[in-house]
Amino acid sequence: MQASSLQNCNVMNGDGNATEGRSSAFVVSARKRKLQQITRTAGESTLFLIAAFVAVIVLFIFYFVARDAVPFFEIRGFREFFTDTRWYPADEPPVFGALSIIYGSLMVTVGSALIAIPMGVAAAICLSDVLPFSVRQYVKPVIEMLAAIPSVAFGFFALVIFAPMLQNHGGSILMWSWWIMATPLILLMIVVGAELVSSRIEDDRRRKVAQRVLLVVMGALALLILILVGFRLRSIEIMTGTNALNVSIILSFMALPTIVSVAEDALQAVGRDLREGSYALGATRAETIIKTILPAASSGILAGVILGIMRALGETMVVWMASGNSAHIPEPWYNYLDSVRTLTATIAGDMGEADQVTGSARFHVLFAMGLLLLVISFVSNFISERIVVRQRKILSGQ
């Protein structure tokens, strides 16, 4: 509006004068303009070349991994790789069943996601909507610093400190973590549950009595459950500290900064107007967070979660050092206290002997695993990209 009116003024002032003034101040000479054009083209093409180079690298990696993966499937077929649980690449005759290894990768990824997602999203909410700005400025960089710790350091911690701790005090660690995590959750459930059940009673006094009785009964029940499960957990003796649980916990720490950072950005992107609109309608802060901000930021949070999970899936050093590397499906299948072997650790561990000169299937099977990992991360990246695009559309009101 302002700009157009200014322009109008200029034109009104009389064209002769205005153009003359402009030509001396703004219009550059032909030579200079040509030079500018050349530098612009040069700069743009340099940037384009660099961008293209990065894209080409990705394609090259895909091509070379696939090129060395295909011979494996030509030699051994698909069936053994995806359905056999026996992994004996060095034996005579070799067996290349990767199912238990794929399962191991899945297990630690799911385990770390179960820990990292609730923690990460909660931390992101806390950072963006609960903590005052001045505190947030200090806390966020500290969380992001987690990402800067080299994975070897995490692995060393997992192997040398955490694993023996799990072996020696595993039962009590499990008991205390159960109590710490379950107590607030169960308390919340009891309070909300008692409120919900008693709200059907119309008479005011009888409702209050019923509520109290319910609280006492459910509280006693919950306490019993808490104690029983706690002691049951304490009696568990952890055979080996280098197990799926250990790795899941460490991996979740490694995935946390990604999840927190991306989710927090998504929450911030929701904007003041939505928040203030919600408050204006009389919503409390909790209601605003749960009913307005979280749904609006959900796809951004999901994108962060996927990125964090990919970090856990692709991590090599920690799992190689601390998962125990047993190529088997634990018994029973959900036993997180048994050691597992993952795709990444297998590639790292078996690479040495698997030479293209000596063992062909044994060499190519590692590329088959690499290709599998690449495909998984490609698909997840694609999905998270689509989600982010969708969120942008939603937020821009389309």
């Binding site: 649980t85 026996r86 992994w87 004996y88 690449p89 060095a90 034996d91 005579e92 067996v95 238990s100 070897v152 192997l159 040398v160 694993a163 023996p164 072996q167 055979m239 080996t240 500290g241 280098t242 050093m317 190689w320 050092m321 125990g324 590397n325 047993s326 190529a327 088997h328 048994d338 050691s339 072997r341 790292a348 561990g349 078996d350 690479m351 040495g352 002997e353 698997a354 030479d355 000169v357 000596t358 063992g359």
Partner: protein, 273 residues
């Protein structure tokens, strides 16, 4: 361990760039291979650099990688804790390389358990049964009632291959529940921290954090390895492309000198002569 490998890879990569292939390097010796022979090669290297002023790069990436590097011409000496396989020999010959192996020392493969474990002797059959997974409790071999945690090495380890050859047999699968560690040190670490664990390491890696056990009634020691009574022993090789010449020959022959013999002894290996 793996960090070592990365550093050594970087070092050798830089070396490659600088010298255009270490095999024809004018100013140094490049060594790659077994993590068991690694410490020996390193102390030889330190002595060699000090006394001759010739730089020696030592990488520990496993016997298989050592052989690979030798075949690809990226190292002068491959340290190996097993002899070359027929396929590796064939691959070397197809590239016009005739590998020559020299025994620099002997190594006993020691079975180790946690110091808290009362078991002090096992037969070879019992060890094989444990690793095959048919014996799963220490009670079955005269120990306390506790599950056995098997620790093995990655398949690229010469120690692992020697163990399979000497104890369980090449065609037998080791139990899938066996934990896999990447180096002698990592195995020792796991054993020292885990009560029910059993594993195997080179004789040079034994210290007070783990307890060695007698195999077929014979405890591993330099004497029992040299006189051949200890059943799990093996020669350690330094392999070169063709007969070693010049400074490479000088380096390998260190093992026969008094200084070399002292270093071999200090590292817990056994000299050949």
């Amino acid at each position: 361990m793996a960090k070592f490998r990365v550093t050594s890879l970087v070092v050798s990569a830089i070396f490659l760039l600088v010298s255009g292939g270490p095999a024809e390097a004018k100013n140094g010796i490049v060594i790659d291979g077994s993590t068991t022979v690694g410490p020996l090669a390193k102390s030889f290297a330190a002595y060699f650099t000090r006394s001759r002023g010739i730089s020696v790069t030592v990488s520990e990436s496993g016997s298989g990688n050592g052989a690979k590097s030798l075949i690809n011409g990226t190292c002068d000496i491959a340290t190996m804790s097993r002899s070359m396989k027929p396929e590796e020999l064939a691959a070397a010959r197809s590239k016009g390389i005739e590998p020559v192996a020299g025994v620099v020392a002997l190594d006993g493969l020691a079975m180790v358990v946690n110091p808290a474990n009362p078991v002090h002797s096992l037969t070879k059959q019992q060890i094989a049964a444990i690793y095959k997974g048919s014996v799963t409790n220490w009670r079955q071999v005269g120990g306390p009632n506790a599950r056995i945690l098997i620790v093995q090495r990655e398949s690229n380890s010469g120690t692992q291959e020697t163990f399979k050859e000497l104890v369980v047999g090449k065609k037998v699968h080791i139990a899938a529940s066996a934990e896999t560690q990447a180096s002698n040190g990592a195995v020792k670490n796991r054993i020292s921290l885990t009560k029910g664990a059993i594993g195997f390491v080179g004789l040079g890696f034994i210290d007070s954090t783990v307890k060695k056990i007698a195999v077929d009634g014979v405890l591993p020691s330099p004497e029992t390895v040299r006189n051949g009574t200890y059943p799990l022993s093996r020669p350690l090789f330094m392999v070169t492309a063709g007969t070693p010449k010049g400074r490479v020959q000088e380096f390998i022959n260190l093992s026969a000198t008094p200084v070399g013999k002292r270093m071999i002894k200090e590292l817990g290996f056994v000299g050949t002569r």
